[in-house]
């Protein structure tokens, strides 16, 4: 079982690849030439411009591209991710469906109590939910 402790039996040799990647990146970065910085105008309202850019409105004081399509796509992706997370978290067994909404312990305790004691014997979870939960 994994506990919150640092693993000591891992192989660090594979991590050398990350170190090598960093060295290559650093070499490339310091060899590159970036032209002169332009920066924002002193009177520019950056937050306002980001808000306008999200909705394809050309009203901001700083230039930007339109992101309305990306905004809608991200909205759909977040919705799908929420549904997917709920689908994955939902228990497959139908008989303990009523307990699923109450317990958020990862499933281990539930599996043990339902398999060994039956649903009626699982009183600790009900108490815990009554103590701290606003169901």
């Amino acid at each position: 079982m994994s506990r919150p402790e640092l693993q000591s039996d891992i192989s660090y040799t594979k991590g050398l690849a990350a170190l090598a990647l960093f060295v290559v990146m650093a070499a490339v970065v310091f060899a590159a030439d970036f032209g002169p910085a332009q920066g924002f105008p002193s009177d520019a309202n950056v937050t306002e411009s980001i808000g306008y850019a999200m909705f394809n409105l050309d009203l901001g004081s700083v230039p930007a591209e339109g992101f309305l399509v990306a905004f809608l796509l991200i909205a759909v992706v977040l919705d799908v991710a929420l549904d997917g997370a709920l689908y994955l978290a939902k228990r497959e067994n139908e008989d303990d469906e009523t307990l699923t909404a109450l317990i958020a312990d990862g499933g281990r305790t539930l599996r043990r109590t339902v398999a060994d004691d039956g649903v009626d014997g699982d009183e600790t979870h009900g108490d815990a939910a009554d103590d701290g939960g606003d169901r």
Partner: protein
């Protein structure tokens, strides 16, 4: 203004720490954190170069990247939950079968 090389170096360091975590760790939660580090390394570059070129496209894009990271974490946590239920562990090397 701080030269771009230092920001790029910071982003590279954060990215490589993420790569290091993915390559060496076995805990799925640390995997997820490492992927987040890699995503946020890209965000550092986006935000810096947005300021460097005086264009808010990079900063707007970084907001979308953050939203995408949130979606990724939602799915990732769900997968880890299923992993724990089926294998009683979150060690990614334990899950070697598609069916059990």
């Amino acid at each position: 203004m701080v030269p771009p090389q230092w920001y790029l170096l910071l982003a590279a360091a954060v990215f490589c720490i993420g790569v290091f975590g993915v390559l060496t760790r076995r805990n799925a939660l640390i995997f997820l954190m490492s992927v987040e580090l890699m995503l946020n390394a890209a965000n550092i570059n986006l935000v810096y170069f947005s300021q460097y070129w005086g264009n808010v496209t990079g900063q707007t894009f970084s907001l979308f990247t953050l939203a995408l990271a949130a979606a990724e974490v939602a799915i990732g946590i769900g997968i880890i939950l299923v992993l724990y239920r089926n294998f009683d562990d979150v060690d990614v090397t334990k899950a070697v079968t598609m069916r059990w």
